[in-house]
């Protein structure tokens, strides 16, 4: 019997390491220390209900476990074989306790390729990775295949880059392999920067060897002997696990000279980033690794031609690499049988926002938004109405009700005005103001622009200012025209992907929610009731009983009135904090 305790960053923040210790202690006390193993794994993905503990082999899935629950798990489940009912997941529809995770709505439709080992193995133990066919792919490559064979397999698999733009991975490798140089580099982009996206971190925390193995395979394929992982310093756990994994892989001879007795040598170094979003852009990433300012440069030349230190370099992101070993062991035919015609395999998404099951999921390409949001994600929080979903992070767009049945793949998302991006998915409900949402994403890109090119440096700032202007009720119809023109020009003229996509949230909300923009501009009204400057608080005289609770709660003394008499709000003084609304027990405060 194994007890798996989630050791992802989220669950660790909820004291999962204490759960681990408590379980071990309980088992020791019961004399089962050597019988039952307690293992800290990577992320299970179901962060909404973390910390998660899973009992193997029966797949029992305990949610929201506390350290003090260790005693009952050991006493009941381990010793008596009876699952602890109160710790099981409750299906929100049937209200039944679900014991086996395979039957949970969250997991039912998922196929885990990139996340295959996350939540199954101890990421700090290379033997567990090897036990699940780890490094078999590398062994197969160096013993059976030529570099060209490997590239051929990756090309046939149809794998496309999971970092954002979806460039065919095999083709990228082929270009790097054809450029002759005395030194080439394999670079892993672990500078995950999309707000809310954390799949790369989870892979590195839960299954670091899969990335190391894939990078070695890439090195073998393109003729590189050096690998570099560019990882943001804010990922300390991932960094620590990578360091452990690198040490073990070197010890086992899976990195270093003459890997598995072959002529092939490869080793990997870590490079730390300071967390700038733009450093996820490959040329900026390379400049940052070289010790320069993290700024993009014009492409071409692409890194495959002139990358790190001017040498041909292949840059892929973590999730892309995590797919590689399985493609080699299970074959390209298997991989390409999953997904849609032009987007093969699976994609990991980070579900966030107003959705019941916040977490990390992996689904086959072609799964619809409806399946993801309403089946896997468990629908909208608090029974509210779905309004929109932002895919692709701050570079993507807002999709609406009418897009729910679109099968998700790289091309379909672009066709409907968004993009895959790294797989962030932020769900919005009826309470969200779409102008404010656009403003929110712009705030991010304004903050994260490197400042090199004028349209991104200044244009995004101007977009943000104009959106603020509109949310304050000062916008005009001419402003909407100007907004659109600025968006189009910023997209058309910016130097790198950041500026070329930063107006997407504005354009897509303008396309899909023009009525909301018009309401802000022409009626000076925020339909979602989010824009504070457009709100007006008043007291319905018929309902006011003169209890004075509102007047006492008002922090700026904007409410006047005699006890037991009607009260009034001085609009000049009101700061729209909502305190009166909350204090009133009689529903007499009205928000317009």
């Amino acid at each position: 019997m194994h007890l798996l305790v989630c050791g992802g960053t989220g669950c660790r923040a909820s004291e999962s390491s204490l759960i681990l210790e408590s379980l071990k202690r309980e088992l020791e006390e019961k004399g089962l220390g050597s019988e039952v193993q307690v293992i800290m794994t990577g992320c299970f993905g179901f962060c909404e209900k973390g910390p998660v503990v899973k009992v193997m082999p029966d797949n029992t899935f305990y949610v929201q476990v506390k350290p003090e629950d260790a005693a009952v798990i050991v006493a009941e489940h381990v010793i008596k074989g009876r699952p602890v009912q109160r710790l099981l997941y409750v299906d929100p529809k049937s209200k039944e306790h679900v014991s086996d995770s395979k039957h949970m709505g969250f997991y039912r439709k998922q196929i885990r390729i990139a996340l295959r080992n996350c939540g199954f193995i101890n990421p700090e133990n290379i033997d567990e990775y090897i036990a699940r066919d780890g490094y078999e792919a590398l062994a197969k490559c160096v013993s059976e295949y030529s570099g060209a064979d490997v590239i051929d397999i990756i090309k046939k698999s149809g794998l496309r880059g999971r970092g954002g733009a979806g460039f065919p991975t095999g083709l990228k490798w082929e270009i790097a392999s054809k450029n002759k140089a005395d030194q080439k580099y394999v670079v892993c982009n672990a500078d995950e920067g999309d707000p809310g996206a954390f799949m790369d971190r989870s892979v590195l925390e839960g299954d670091p060897h899969s990335v190391l193995e894939a990078m070695a395979i890439c090195g073998y394929a393109i003729g590189a002997s050096k690998g570099l992982i560019y990882i943001r310093a804010e990922y300390p756990l991932a960094i620590q696990r990578l360091k452990v994994a690198l040490g073990q892989a070197r010890e086992y001879g899976l990195l270093g000279n003459n890997i598995l007795g072959s002529d092939f040598g490869f080793d990997i170094e870590l490079r730390y980033g300071a967390g700038a979003f733009v450093c996820g852009e490959e040329t900026a990433l390379i400049h940052s690794m070289e010790g320069h300012r993290g700024e993009p440069t014009n492409k071409p030349p692409f890194p495959a031609e002139s990358g790190f230190l001017g040498k041909p370099s292949n840059v892929n992101n973590v999730e892309t690499y995590a797919n590689i070993p399985v493609i080699i062991t299970k074959g390209w035919e298997w991989f390409s049988s999953i997904g849609t015609e032009k987007s093969k395999g699976t994609k990991v998404f980070a579900l966030a926002g107003k959705i019941n099951n916040v977490g990390l999921i992996e689904v086959p390409m072609g799964t619809t938004l409806r399946e993801i949001i309403f089946e896997i994600g468990g629908g909208i929080k608090n029974g509210k109405k779905f309004k929109a979903v932002q895919t692709g992070g701050p570079s993507g767009g807002c999709l609406t009700e009418k897009h729910l049945d679109t099968p998700i793949d790289f091309d379909n998302l672009v066709a409907v005005g968004s993009m895959m991006g790294s797989g962030g998915m932020i769900v919005m409900d009826e309470d969200d103001c779409m102008v404010s949402i656009a403003k929110f994403f712009l705030e991010f890109t304004v903050e994260e622009s490197c400042g090199k090119c004028a349209p991104c440096r200044i244009g995004n700032k101007r977009l943000h200012e104009l959106l603020t202007h509109i949310t304050k009720g000062n916008g005009t119809m001419a402003d909407l025209d100007r907004l659109k023109n600025m968006c189009n020009v910023i997209k058309d003229t910016s130097l790198c992907g950041l500026g070329q996509t930063s107006p997407n949230p504005v354009l897509s909300t303008m396309n899909n929610f023009m009525d909301e923009y018009l309401a802000h501009v022409t009626e000076k009204r925020c339909p979602a009731g989010q824009c504070r400057d457009l709100m007006k608080y008043s007291i319905i005289l018929d309902k006011c009983v003169g209890c004075t609770a509102c007047a006492r709660g008002c922090p700026v003394n904007a409410i006047t009135g005699e006890r037991k008499g009607p009260h009034f709000i001085d609009q000049e003084k009101c700061i729209k904090c909502g305190a009166c609304f909350e204090k009133c027990k009689f529903g007499a405060v009205l928000i317009n």
Binding site: K461, E465, V489, D492, L495
Partner: protein, 592 residues
């Protein structure tokens, strides 16, 4: 040469493979506007960050507009440079740039020669939509002895950064901050005074706006002239006469020596002298020093301090004081001509006209901004009274002449006053790279060999290559000469000296590309390197037309030694005309 066929604006043309769209278009006479791009052909200097996005064009088959300055043509590329889409993009981007730029053109030192102003004009910008809600990026203003930085006016073209780092290897300026607040500044936004800045002024020479300008001393000069108690003496550097005419619409390379003298007299200077006189004096002192050191060297003295390095250029002096203080005994101890002139004017000449040095104001007209700081060095003053009171640049003089409503172009020629206005051809060529060493060779040869030179034009020492070398036959002794212009090139020679592998006996260094004719205080070249070459030609022309072309034959120099100094390198000469250098590494504050 491999050629490709491209089409620009419906015209087919054959260009060399690798040509940028911008160069191809320019060759065809199609004028694509550019802002950040700058190229000095013969000096191998190019700034092409692709940041301003003004030069964007439509390239068939590409989704976004492409910057013409860095996009290379492929075979069959079809380009359109002025479509409505392009024009709208340029205009919108220009509006962005101007929305974050102060509108104080009325009192901006760059007004009239500002590339941003010209571009606004060219693109027909008459208003900045949304200016009323647009925030401006503002910074602390920094005034150093030579250069003023007003980053509010910085448009991030990065030209200064390129000059300071790539060309000069000074490393005082680089991009700081991100996004909207990005600007170019010393590390940790220190003042220039606490940075490794040498005041060479090359950043000012290429700045398209008023972000980097010289400290203006014309007001001080005017007040000195107005003061009846002061005798105001002016000296003018060789390079000024070859460039000043450009400010008044004359062709680059037009010599305006006579008009310059007339203008200075009209401006009210009491004595109009020539720095060239002091250049001849420098040759006497430095040439003698060279021969002394050479004598020691030939005797095998290890402390001969060969190679001797020239010391006329204050930017260069700052550079080695900051970067190579351990070599501070190697450069010639001879003061620069500006300072020799000041020292002689306030001693020999003040005695002659029987006034106290405190009643004399010495003004210098220089092509240089580092001269401003040099004049302020404490070691160049007596009891707090500086040898040179004010140094103004060629550009400042042009402003001054315009203020005085002088019709410069139609001025008659006048002669310099005596005795400090007489000079030889050797003094004139001090303004060109290679000129100081050529002048020194002319004198040193005759003093070393005791023979008359059969030729005076040492063309092997001339040219625009960054590092040059020549061996001059000193009657059987091969004198190895090295020449560098641009501090990056100087650094290479200095590293050799430091490592003890320099094969030269004498090295001339000028901080600015092309020498003083390309100085930081000269009329702006706006990226046209042919202007620099015309100025160089003009100085060689003036040399050729001079009746006396070797310094030691200047009758007033001979007289000066006879009446006042005694011999070259005499005790009095040492006291007045020589200096020593400091370790200034410590003045650089590299911390936040």
């Amino acid at each position: 040469m491999e050629t490709i066929k491209i089409t620009i604006d419906n015209k087919q043309v054959e260009v060399e493979k690798g040509t940028t769209i911008l160069s191809a278009a320019r060759k065809m006479g199609i004028d694509i506007p550019t802002l950040c791009h700058m190229r000095l052909d013969d000096l191998n200097i190019e700034n092409k960050p692709g940041g301003c996005r003004i030069c964007v064009v439509e390239v068939q088959g590409r989704r976004n507009l492409s910057p013409a300055c860095i996009t290379k043509c492929d075979d069959g590329t079809v380009i359109r440079t002025h479509t409505p889409r392009v024009m709208n993009a340029r205009r919108t981007v220009m509006e962005f740039i101007l929305s974050d730029h102060p509108k104080d053109c009325l009192i901006c030192p760059k007004s009239g020669s500002c590339e941003l102003q010209d571009m606004a004009n060219r693109l027909g910008i008459r208003e900045i939509p949304g200016q009323e809600i647009a925030a401006m990026s503002t910074y602390r203003k920094d005034t150093s002895p030579s250069i003023i930085r007003d980053l509010d006016k910085c448009i991030m073209c990065r030209r200064c950064e390129m000059m300071c780092n790539d060309v000069q290897t000074v490393g005082a300026l680089s991009a700081v901050n991100r996004g909207f607040m990005a600007a170019v500044a010393p590390a940790f936004e220190q003042n220039l005074e606490h940075s490794p800045c040498t005041y060479c002024g090359q950043c000012v020479a290429v700045c398209p706006t008023g972000a980097l300008t010289e400290v203006d001393h014309t007001r001080d000069v005017l007040r000195a002239i107005v003061d009846p108690a002061k005798v105001v003496v002016v000296q003018t550097a060789p390079a000024v006469r070859a460039a000043l005419g450009e400010e008044f619409g004359l062709k680059p390379g037009t010599l305006v020596t006579g008009k310059l003298v007339s203008a200075l007299k009209e401006l009210g200077f009491d004595y109009v002298f020539d720095t060239d006189f002091a250049a001849d004096l420098t040759i006497m002192e430095e040439g003698t020093e060279l021969l002394n050191r050479l004598g020691k060297f030939l005797k095998g003295d290890e402390n001969s301090n060969i190679p001797i390095l020239t010391s006329c250029c204050p930017g260069w002096v700052n550079f080695f004081e900051h970067n190579f203080p351990e070599l501070k005994d190697v450069p010639s101890t001879a003061k620069s001509p500006q300072q020799m002139f000041g020292a002689i004017a306030k001693s020999y000449f003040a005695d002659k006209i029987k006034i106290n040095r405190k009643d004399m104001v010495v003004v210098s007209i220089m092509p240089c901004l580092a001269k401003k700081w040099e004049a302020q060095r404490p070691e160049f003053s007596v009891d707090g009274n500086p040898d040179v009171d004010f140094s103004i640049s060629t550009r400042e003089l042009a402003h001054f002449i315009r203020q005085a409503n002088i019709d410069f172009v139609n001025l008659p020629d006048s002669d310099f006053d005596r005795p400090l206005g007489e000079s030889t051809g050797a003094g004139v060529i001090f303004g060109n790279t290679g000129g100081v060493i050529e002048a020194a060779v002319r004198t040193a040869y005759e003093l070393f060999t005791g023979k008359k030179l059969s030729r005076l034009d040492f063309t092997e020492l001339r040219g625009m290559e960054g590092v040059r070398q020549a061996t001059i036959d000193f009657d059987g002794f091969p004198l190895n000469i090295g020449i560098a212009h641009g501090l990056g090139n100087a650094r290479k020679l200095l590293e050799d000296v430091k490592a003890g592998r320099s094969k030269f006996h004498a090295i001339e260094v000028m901080a600015c590309p092309g020498g003083c004719i390309g100085g930081g205080g000269q009329p702006l070249h706006h990226g046209d390197s042919s202007i620099l070459k015309s100025r160089a030609r003009a100085l060689y022309e003036e040399d050729k037309n001079k009746p006396i072309r070797v310094s030691h034959e200047n009758p007033y120099i001979i007289q000066l030694y006879k009446e006042f100094l005694g011999e070259p390198n005499s005790e009095k000469a040492h006291h007045l005309l020589h200096t020593h250098y400091f370790d200034r590494k410590a003045k650089i504050v590299v911390k936040p």
